[in-house]
């Protein structure tokens, strides 16, 4: 299989990239690692007139900390997140989730930003970023724009990014006494999730100060389980409170029955994973991770 013909540009700078997109954004697709886009091109689900390869742009890959948040460059490879010893301490949900994305070879080339912009409802990063309350930083010729995670995912393979914008950075708030977990059910290594659940909690003494829950593969987009989050906020994370949050998250999920399982089954996996994830997350938050 090979893609339909397209023009190819590999800009040397971000300024050049956004200039190309200002002129031809509507007919272009931005490519980072290409691990989502190239399969789409090969299957001809996507036939852009122009592919703008930003994979070579400098300064868009890497993980850093500043002003109470973690910054992940859009071109950071999944493998770099997976192997980051700093993240294992600061934000263990990130390497934990990275480990379950596709397979090691794809993780060597695929990028966090590319995966997020691809916005596959079965994608892992979207759910993780919703749980973490991340912001997405987009750049266009008119400047920088910050899009809150909850506003970013608008539907299957559809985001709030405009055709003239490039995602440059993901900003994740990091709080003390917080912890997270990512639980994913997949039929085999490399498969998309049957169901996956990202959970992040911040504790204030014995109570939950903030809870984030993101769901993978159970709706037309990565879903933020807001009712479940509210049911946790301000309460001590007892078994009963956690069970109620898990019930609410399962109720919010709208999975389709398919080869990976029935809708009822997937909803129940959401319930179990929210429960399991919250217990891990609370334990990690108490350890100060």
């Amino acid at each position: 299989m090979f893609p339909a013909a397209f023009d190819y540009r590999a800009p040397a700078s971000l300024a050049e990239a956004v200039d190309i997109l200002r002129q031809r954004g509507e007919e272009a697709k931005v490519m980072a690692g290409g691990q989502s886009l190239i399969p789409l091109l090969k299957l001809r689900f996507s036939q852009p007139a122009l592919v703008v390869d930003i994979g070579h742009l400098p300064n868009l890959a890497g993980i850093s900390r500043s002003n109470g948040h973690l910054s992940i460059g859009a071109l950071t490879k999944h493998a770099a997140v997976e192997s980051s010893t700093e993240l294992k301490t600061v934000c263990p949900i990130l390497p934990e989730a990275a480990h379950w994305i596709a397979d090691p070879l794809i993780r060597n080339q695929g990028t966090v930003g590319g995966s997020i912009c691809h916005a596959d409802p079965s994608g892992d990063w979207g759910a993780v970023m919703l749980a973490l309350g991340a912001d997405f930083v987009a750049r266009s010729e008119s400047g920088e724009r910050v899009i809150h995670g909850a506003d970013f995912f608008q539907g299957p393979f559809t985001t709030a990014l405009r055709a003239d914008e490039v995602l440059t950075e993901i900003r994740i708030p990091v709080a003390a006494h917080s912890g997270g977990a990512y639980n994913k059910l997949e039929r085999k290594v490399g498969d998309f999730a049957t169901v996956a659940v990202a959970v992040q909690v911040e504790l204030n003494g014995d109570r939950v100060a903030r809870a984030g829950i993101g769901l993978t593969a159970v709706a037309d987009r990565n879903l933020k389980a807001t009712d479940a989050e509210k049911a946790l906020t301000g309460k001590p994370p007892t078994d009963e409170v956690i069970a109620e949050a898990a019930r609410l998250a399962a109720a919010a999920a709208e999975p389709k029955s398919d080869i990976r399982g029935s809708s009822e089954y997937k909803k129940d996996v959401v319930r179990v994973f929210v429960q399991r994830g919250l217990k891990t997350a609370v334990a990690r938050a108490r350890e100060g991770k």
Binding site: M1, F2, P3, A4, A5, F6, D7, Y8, A10, M31, G34, Q35, I38, P39, L41, K42, V51, D53, G55, A102, D103, P104, L105, I106, N108, Q109, V189, G190
Partner: protein, 170 residues
């Protein structure tokens, strides 16, 4: 578009459409057919090559995307007439049956041992989890990679030939 690649140490240039996949460039333009096309959907790893030492799936890369980079294919593993440790491992441990997945498995194994010279069986299994052996010969593939690790370890311990020639290292 012009593509320049260093493949197994030799520089190659080609003029290809942007849509040409790296695997097709390697097989068709360079006539290096040791890199296989299996599933063609980035699931099986038969097309694995090393790009600057990192194993990637060449069916899911454009040739133009990796222009300027250094590629190692299975043809680049052997040092002259001799086999590389990973090749010896696959030979000694019966690490292949039909052989279709073998180039990818050997390249992934080579890259693994490069940064983890003494892997556990579990680590090897994770490393090859993007490569499918349709004959299900995984047990021997793991043994083959362990065999290569042992060869490397023995070579590291052995005194250098120059040291022996100089009368040392006995």
């Amino acid at each position: 578009m012009k593509v320049t690649l260093k493949v197994n140490g030799a520089e190659h240039t080609g003029d290809v459409e942007p849509r040409v996949l790296l695997v097709d460039f390697i097989r068709t333009n360079l006539r290096l057919t040791g890199t296989h096309i299996g599933c063609d959907t980035s699931g099986c790893g038969a097309c694995t090559v090393l790009v600057d030492g990192t194993p990637l799936k060449s069916c899911t890369l454009l040739a133009v995307q990796v222009s300027g980079r250094s590629i190692t294919t299975v043809e680049g593993l052997a040092a002259g007439a001799g086999m590389s440790p990973i090749q010896t491992g696959f030979h000694e441990e019966h690490g292949l049956q039909c052989g279709f997945c073998t180039p990818g498995m050997m390249l992934v194994g080579t890259a693994l041992l490069e940064h983890n010279p003494n892997p556990t069986d579990e680590e090897i299994r994770w490393a090859i989890s993007g490569n499918i052996c349709r004959c299900t010969g995984y047990m021997n593939i793991v043994k083959a990679i362990q065999h290569a690790a042992a060869i490397n370890a023995a070579a590291a311990k052995a005194p250098a030939a120059e040291a022996v020639a100089a009368g040392g290292g006995k």
